[in-house]
Amino acid sequence: MPKVKIPRKSTFIDMTAMVDMGFLLVTFFMLATKFRPDEPVLVVLPSSTLTTPIPDKDLITITVSKEGRIFIGMDNPKHMSDMLDGFITRFAPNIKLNAEQKQKFSLQTSFGVPAKDLSSWLKLEPEELRRSQPGIKWDSIPDKNELFFWVWNARLASPRSQIALKADGETNYPIIKQVIQVLTNKTIQGHRFQMITSQEENRMAGSKPKEK
């Protein structure tokens, strides 16, 4: 019986098409998405049907977590360091920070530490900075209200910035009220602000109330 010769076929696969697809996907993700900002807490935004986009820059973001921790942040490092300088001058002149600590502060995208811990917090390693933030202190006495001083100095550092409130949907209302009270203060003049929400799919159908 003659041997059946099986022709040796090349296992070379033409990958060009796969490369095309790969880079198509890369391009898509580059254009359609935004980098996730570094956040100290996870905030689940409440949904709304609005489609007004938030401005990309010049934004003072006040983040409120579910349990009521408050953070403030600005996208521009220059504004962040101006805010810090203003805060120290106006609220706590006895806080002494060196250039390195100030530099560290300006590179943060959001911040939430009581004034008394500010100096020791800025001694931490950059990786630890983000995690160990208990939130900005709020006080009913205006002179002791650190949140007020932070927001005020943020406004002074960047007067053109808009204020955005980024709060978790499950935050209890009294905490939000505290923040709104600060914003509507006549010194701050931040009574016009944006509430950041995530988009709901269908405008007319609406899916409220949501399941828990």
């Binding site: 060009t16 409440p46 209302y173 709104i180 016009r192």
Partner: protein, 184 residues
């Protein structure tokens, strides 16, 4: 790599002339594919898709207004946001002991109420030759959530209610709701 060359590599038989070896124009794309998908993975993990939107609100500052704004009772509506997504609403003033109704969020509940009242108020004022819009006061109770407030403001946006205010929930309101047996 991934392929086994089966063409047996040409050349080698020509001893006389030195001829340039015919090289394959095929390039091994495997590393490029690897790189492309590495980038895809990176972008998938490091970025966010959902674009947040914003709800712009303008609240009054805490300065004392020069004159007190009075709202005609007939066109004012009050929404009390309670816990567990409850809404209590009434027309007019609490001192007049209005009927307080209970509803919840969603197109079939609060939106219906808002739309109906909006039209009702418009009709009253059309007859009086004064075109006026409904004014809604929101009183969030202390155990309501931020989500409730956003939902209500969103409903206003949908219904086109432009005049509203967020006010404090007073102990009197609490007493009244208790008396009516709506809250414990």
């Amino acid at each position: 790599m991934a392929d086994i060359e089966s063409s047996g590599g040409g050349g080698g038989k020509h001893k006389g002339k030195k001829r340039g070896k015919k090289l394959s124009t095929r390039i091994d794309m495997t590393p490029m594919v690897d790189l492309a998908f590495l980038l895809v993975t990176f972008f998938m993990l490091a970025t966010t898709m959902a674009k947040p939107s914003a709800l712009e609100v303008t609240m009054p500052t805490d300065e004392k207004p020069k004159e007190d704004i009075t709202i005609p009772e007939s066109k004012s509506m009050t929404l009390i946001l309670g816990k567990d997504d409850q809404i209590f609403w009434y027309m007019g003033m609490l001192t007049k002991d209005p009927v307080i109704s209970k509803t919840t969020y969603g197109p079939a509940n609060i939106r219906k109420v808002l739309k109906a009242k909006q039209i009702e108020v418009r009709n009253i004022f059309v007859q009086k030759a004064k075109s006026q819009e409904i004014v809604v006061l929101i009183k969030p109770m202390k155990d309501s959530k931020y989500r409730n407030l956003v939902d209500i403001l969103d409903e206003f946006e949908i219904c086109g209610i432009k005049q509203f205010a967020v006010v404090d929930f007073q102990p009197d309101d609490q007493k009244n709701l208790k008396k009516k047996g709506l809250v414990e």
